[in-house]
């Protein structure tokens, strides 16, 4: 297990362009948007600035969605297509181990991305650290797990490594939209927000933002995210093909 973790991490790091994209893009966007668009750093009606919680939590969502919808399906479908999983099934170690290791690595990359985002928001814009750190960590892990489960379903359904990123994008962009990336949930029309409430990404982003801003996440939001984890996790287990 330890050796597999080491080797897979090395392989992951060797593919640095996609790592740069996953970690670098959200951080870059945070800085570019925060520094260039005045409204981001102006206090709103409640006294909160966009760069305090809204923008960094959206960028956290972007990082996690990229990992879940893009990286995970690409790696796993390629492993399946190239027969890596099949070869492993001839050894005493079940290829499920490789899957677990990949999810763990992506989760760690997600945590690192979030840490860099929190750090840059604090250093560059003087944004507060998440005011409810325990709730924030809990929401982050629960949401990451749910999104990774969606990624596993994509990996299960994608016929090969070439189509996986396409399917991933088809899933990722609506989730970003429903998560409030372009239209913040606060100003969504009611009907759209109702859809957003059940989109996993929507309640996840909201709970993340709440915990960041110091409010307790709503139980309903957490329940939807947890249900997403159970449903997509279950689907992934049922649908995943090793060859």
């Amino acid at each position: 297990m330890k050796k597999m973790l080491i080797v897979e991490t090395r392989l992951y790091l060797r593919d640095w362009p996609s790592l740069l994209f996953t970690v670098g893009l959200p951080v870059g966007l945070l800085l570019v948007l925060g520094l260039s668009i005045p409204v981001m750093t102006e206090a709103g009606t409640s006294g909160e600035r966009m760069v305090d919680a809204q923008l960094p939590s959206m960028m956290t969502l972007l990082a996690l969605l990229t990992l879940a919808c893009n990286i995970v399906p690409a790696v796993l479908t390629t492993y399946r297509e190239r027969g890596v999983l099949r070869r492993m099934s001839t050894t005493p170690v079940h290829p499920g181990r490789l899957l677990g290791v990949q999810l763990l690595i992506n989760l760690v990359v997600g945590v690192v991305s979030a840490a860099i985002l929190i750090g840059s928001a604090a250093v560059v814009f003087g944004a507060p650290l998440p005011r409810q750190p325990v709730a924030f960590a809990f929401v982050f892990l629960l949401g990451s797990a749910a999104l990774l489960a969606i990624g596993l379903v994509i990996a299960a359904l994608a016929p090969n490594g070439k189509t996986a990123p396409g399917i991933g994008a088809v899933v990722m962009f609506p989730l970003m939209f429903l998560g409030g990336m372009w239209v913040p949930r606060e100003i969504m029309p009611d009907a759209l927000r109702a859809v957003s409430d059940f989109s996993v990404a929507g309640p996840f982003a909201q709970a993340l933002k709440d915990a960041w801003a110091g409010q307790s996440p709503e139980l309903g939001h957490l329940a939807v995210v947890a249900a997403g984890l159970v449903i997509f996790g279950g689907l992934a287990v049922r649908l995943f093909r090793w060859e």
Partner: protein
């Protein structure tokens, strides 16, 4: 002593029957070949032996284990090189072996294994930079890293150039000499003839025959052909008088003599007595291809 026993194996896929009825036994320490055309059911057969697929009928035993029921134990005694299974592009040779060695409780000394398969100078090379032959040798090394008693090698040399193929054959013989029983799946007649102690000819999901390569060839008779261009005219009667000769045909100035036994030496000796030199002398014997054709009514390739 037999280490693999397959009885009336049957495996059906949703749309077709891949293996109809296959039985064979493999003795410990031999190279056992499974030879047949593409789509004959060879790979499905060995996948059932390796516990990768569940048979629909029949029994399989490997070193006393049921591949399906005793999956975990089987993987300790059987190593498999899969047809066209690759590795991640950027994994290095040494990393792949180190990783796969960690899967087994008592693995082989992998740095030594790298040398044995001739990849010593490629330890730090990434998988994507390896040639086809090097990839196959790495594949063999991965199948052996758990120190198995049986190694299944599926279409090991398909797609390799002739030199790489010969190098791989030598490697397979070395592996056998180290005491590992080998099941070799192939559709190359030449490979089966060169490497296998015994082999099963498989066609359309059934075993057409099981024997040594020479035994299989003998089943189709030992007809030989001797072709030559005589330095001076020869009377057919001179050749037909020889007991080994069955027939004489001519095409242009070439004479084709068919027969059996010590045909070639007898014919050349008879020609020498007439002071005739056989030019462009060629001797053709029956091959596994001919045996396959005779046994199944189909060409192997």
């Amino acid at each position: 002593m037999k280490i693999i026993e397959v009885r009336n194996l049957r495996k059906q896929y949703p749309n077709h029957v891949a293996v109809e009825d296959v039985s064979f036994e493999v003795a410990e320490g031999e190279i056992f070949g499974i030879l047949g055309p593409n789509g004959a059911g060879k790979t499905t057969t060995v996948e059932c032996v390796a516990g990768l697929r569940t048979p629909d009928g029949g029994t399989v035993q490997v070193a006393g284990l049921d591949p399906h029921r005793d999956r975990a134990e089987l993987r300790q005694v059987l190593g498999m090189q899969l047809q066209s299974a690759e590795l991640p592009e950027k994994i290095k040779v040494s990393e792949a072996l180190d990783l796969y060695a960690s899967f087994y409780p008592d693995p082989a000394d992998w740095p030594d294994l790298i040398e044995r398969v001739g990849l010593g100078s490629k330890r730090d090379t990434m998988f994507k930079k390896l040639s086809g032959g090097q990839r196959q040798r790495l594949s063999v090394a991965l199948a052996l890293v758990g120190r198995p008693r049986v190694a299944v090698l599926d279409e090991l040399t398909t797609g390799l150039d002739p030199q790489a193929r010969r190098d791989t054959w030598e490697l397979v013989e070395q592996v056998r000499d180290s005491g590992v029983t080998i099941v070799l799946v192939t559709h190359f007649m030449e490979e089966a003839e060169r490497l296998c102690d015994r082999l099963a000819l498989i066609d359309a999901g059934r075993v057409a025959a099981t024997d040594t390569p020479s035994g299989l060839i003998a089943q189709v008779g030992d007809e030989q052909r001797v072709k030559f261009r005589p330095s001076a005219p020869v009377d057919d009667a001179v050749l037909l008088a020889l007991p080994e000769v069955r027939g004489v045909t001519r095409s242009g100035d070439q004479i084709v003599v068919t027969g059996s036994g010590n045909l070639a030496p007898t014919v050349t000796l008879a020609l020498a007595r007439q002071q005739i030199v056989p030019g462009d002398l060629r001797i053709e014997q029956a091959t596994l291809d001919d045996a396959f054709l005779a046994l199944t009514g189909r060409k192997l390739s």
